[in-house]
């Protein structure tokens, strides 16, 4: 516990080790044609998702063949649990203003008939969701804008409250770490398990950005207090002491949040599972980066500044 600062290089190295694979998978996304990296839901790609429960259990591949026979070879069919099947196709039935008024739902109806012909009647309709290309474009632009705005907001607030740009930048570095870790996690999860990110992913990202600085703030606040109380002590010692003093609350504040997220993950279903998982990963990463990245970064910075000052002093005396 006394050596968090002394071992800061190891913690930086650990952060590199957990960010690099994720970063690799993330950056591979646009080049791999969808096989490696982030898997985007129809919110981003555009398309239709149709959920239904057949009366008798059916093989997704059989359903997929039936949908393909209705003219949708691009369709994929997966199981959703509790007997539901999920059919994904390109956007269906979007009415573009010039259509005649009597063909709404015709494309989906054709698919439905083909499926019923192949596997028998449908017991329960779930939901049908269609996203056109316009919304998808909006979301991608919006995502980047929101993350950038959120980061700038936090940077300004931290710099203002601690009257020190270094505190702001160290907090920014820690939260970018969390963003990269979380995106990377889903790039790997998308590749390995096919987990898709949807419109709520950005919401989770911003929530993580807002929450991940909480622990950073607690440590920084203590550093500021200890700088006054132990004026003259080495900066590294003060920071290390501050981290140790606040370790308990960093863990406990994170623990209560993770507890509530876990209950949601275990008991709540539907569209928010990925959302909750995103928050979970990001907030976990946020606690790590607050303790082991943000404050050590301050020390590293201070030590460099002092080394430069010392070097400058030496050249002056020489």
């Amino acid at each position: 516990m006394d050596k968090i600062i002394a071992r800061k290089r190891w913690f930086f190295l650990f952060s590199l080790l957990i960010t690099i694979p994720g970063l690799f998978f993330t950056l591979a996304t646009p080049f791999s044609g969808g096989s490696i990296g982030l898997k985007f839901s129809i919110d981003y790609t555009g398309g239709t998702i149709w959920e239904f429960r057949p009366e008798s259990p059916a093989d997704p591949l059989v359903v997929q063949a039936a949908v393909a026979s209705a003219g949708h070879e691009e369709a994929t069919v997966t199981e959703a649990g509790t007997g539901f099947l999920i059919v994904r196709t390109k956007p269906l039935d979007l009415q573009l203003g010039q259509d005649q008024i009597d063909n709404a739902g015709a494309e989906l109806q054709a698919i439905r008939e083909a499926v019923v012909a192949a596997i028998g009647p449908i017991a329960e309709e779930g939901s049908v969701s269609t996203v056109g290309p316009v919304i998808s474009q909006d979301l991608t632009q919006q995502a980047l804008l929101l993350v950038v705005l959120g980061s700038i907001g936090i940077l300004l607030w931290m710099t203002y409250r601690f009257r020190n740009l270094r505190f702001g930048l160290a907090a920014l570095a820690a939260l970018l770490h969390d963003v990269i870790v979380t995106v990377g996690f889903f790039a790997i999860a998308g590749t390995v398990a096919g987990i898709e990110i949807d419109a709520l992913f950005v919401t989770a990202m911003l929530t993580i950005i807002g929450f991940s600085v909480h622990d950073t703030i607690v440590v920084f606040d203590r550093i500021r207090e200890n700088l006054v109380r132990h004026a003259g002590a080495p900066f590294g010692d003060i920071v290390n002491h501050s981290i140790v003093q606040t370790l308990g609350r960093s863990f406990n504040t994170t623990a209560t949040v993770l507890i509530t997220l876990l209950t949601l993950l275990v008991f709540a279903g539907g569209s928010i599972r990925t959302f909750v998982l995103t928050l979970f990963v990001g907030i976990l990463s946020g606690t790590y980066s607050s303790i082991f990245n943000a404050s050590p970064l301050l020390v590293w910075w201070e030590e460099r500044a002092q080394a430069r000052k010392a070097a400058a002093a030496r050249t002056r005396t020489a």
Partner: protein, 462 residues
């Protein structure tokens, strides 16, 4: 002032509890219409089932719709929606070119989409004899032109054709059964259109004309005799004429007028009510378990202080739910997740305060000054943390789409309320607790037995 705080807090809690639990409360409605609006927990379509359609207004010949056009389109769509009898419809403009329609509990989504998405521009287009031929009423024989008379569903490719008049000249319309038993839509023209129609039909007996809806021909009959009464009808395809739904939709569209700009669907979601209900049940159960686990965590770590924090957390839940009902906040699945998450965050301020109190107790302070120091010294961190959460929540609220806005609003309300309950309410209860002698042992506030006599064991002392 301090003397009244307990009563104020108690009154707030009771009021909130009444709002949470009493049925049939109502508030004066906002807006100019007056009336009242019931206080109720509003659920999003993903939880109660229904149809949500997002439209983008399309430019015509490079001209985009203005804000006034957008408002007109919204009004027309709203009237079309109301004619279907769907309860609690929501028609909103969004941004500069979007219209979002939310219809809870819809069972015929396809028909409603057809009704709402149709531009509804009706044109009566004379078809010149030289090109399309005519029907000789004397001989009863048609004479072919150079082009065939367009059939149902075809578009008029000839751009030189100009409508005689359009749907704005229609005064009223109705579904009727014509003499051959087909279902048709009849309409009556306003005086200007009626005169134009009378003059033209008188001079062009035997000529064909096309009734065109949104660019597609509905029917192209010939003029049997001069039509002077301003009444005409559109026949549908097939022997039986229009389907019931389609005819009703067409009448609604003619009644409320055409949209000044066409609109295109860019997103459609249709959720069955049963599915939504099961999601709601799961999320509420998760929330309840989450709260209980947070209680347990706080009790184990901070003992008596943890119990006080748990009471404050109950306050928090009561007040937040009341605000959700008052505003009202439309709760989606993501919103409920945000609320459950906020429960975990709401006790964070308590944790900071209690940890600080423990530190003060360890260096030998008495319980009263230790608790006071805990509150005052933790305040900076609590404020800074909550403001950073608010910063990102406000960004989401201002720039996000409607689902994201709902989640952000939940988070904003949660953060603000937790500042009140975790700091003010906790302090109030804790002050009265520590005033009693038997509650003064540091052990009750989470200090480990072994720590009671030792001072801060950090690298640098105290």
């Amino acid at each position: 002032m301090r003397k009244f705080t307990p009563y104020l807090i108690l009154a707030t809690a009771l009021l909130a509890l009444a709002i949470d639990l009493l049925p049939n409360l109502s508030l004066p409605a906002s807006g100019t219409a007056g009336g009242t609006r019931p206080i109720e927990t509003k659920l999003g379509l993903d939880l109660r089932g229904g149809l949500r359609v997002e439209y983008q207004v399309q430019p015509v010949d490079g001209v985009s719709a203005t804000a006034a056009d957008l408002a007109t389109i919204r009004d027309i769509i709203e009237r079309r929606v109301n004619s279907t009898g769907v309860s609690e419809p929501l028609v909103q403009t969004q941004g500069t070119d979007r219209i979002v329609v939310e219809l809870p509990g819809v069972t015929n989504p396809d028909s409603i989409r057809a009704l709402l998405g149709t531009t509804g521009r009706l044109d009566l287009v004379p078809l010149p004899r030289e090109v399309y031929g005519f029907f000789n009423t004397a001989t009863g024989q048609p004479t072919d032109g150079v082009k065939p008379v367009p059939g149902e569903g075809e578009t008029l490719s000839d751009t030189t054709l100009k409508p005689l008049f359009s749907g704005d000249q229609i005064e009223s319309s109705a579904v009727q059964i014509d003499e051959t038993g087909r279902r048709v839509v009849s309409f009556k023209l306003k005086s200007e259109g009626s005169e134009l129609f009378a003059t033209w039909t008188k001079a062009n007996i035997g000529s064909y004309f096309a009734i065109v809806l949104d660019g597609a021909v509905k029917s192209a009959p010939y003029i049997q005799s001069a039509i002077t009464g301003g009444e005409a009808q559109i026949s549908g395809p097939g022997a039986a004429g229009f389907a019931v739904d389609e005819a009703a939709n067409l009448v609604t569209i003619l009644k409320f007028g055409s949209l000044p700009f066409p609109i295109a669907e860019i997103g459609v979601t249709d959720v069955r009510a049963t599915l939504g209900a099961s999601f709601l049940g799961q999320a509420l159960f998760a929330g309840a378990v989450g709260i209980l686990l947070v209680f347990l965590f706080m009790l184990l770590h901070y003992r008596l202080a943890g119990a006080v924090a748990s009471v404050a957390l109950v306050f928090y839940v009561i007040i937040v739910l009341a605000i959700f009902r008052l505003v009202p906040v439309t709760l989606t699945l993501a919103g409920i997740a945000g609320f459950v998450l906020s429960i975990g965050m709401a006790v964070d301020a308590n944790i900071l305060i209690f940890e600080r109190t423990k530190e003060e107790l360890r260096i030998g302070k008495g319980i009263v000054p230790a608790v006071e120091a805990g509150f005052s010294r933790a305040w900076n961190s609590i404020l800074d943390s909550n403001v950073s959460s608010l910063i990102t929540a406000f960004i989401l609220f201002y720039f996000g789409s409607s689902t994201i806005k709902g989640f952000a609003l939940v988070l904003i309300i949660g953060v603000l309320c937790s500042l009140f309950t975790a700091v003010t309410v906790t302090r109030l209860i804790l002050r009265s607790v520590i005033a009693r002698k038997r509650f003064s042992s540091p052990y009750l506030y989470g200090v480990a037995k072994g720590d009671l006599d030792t001072l801060d064991r950090g690298v640098i002392n105290g």
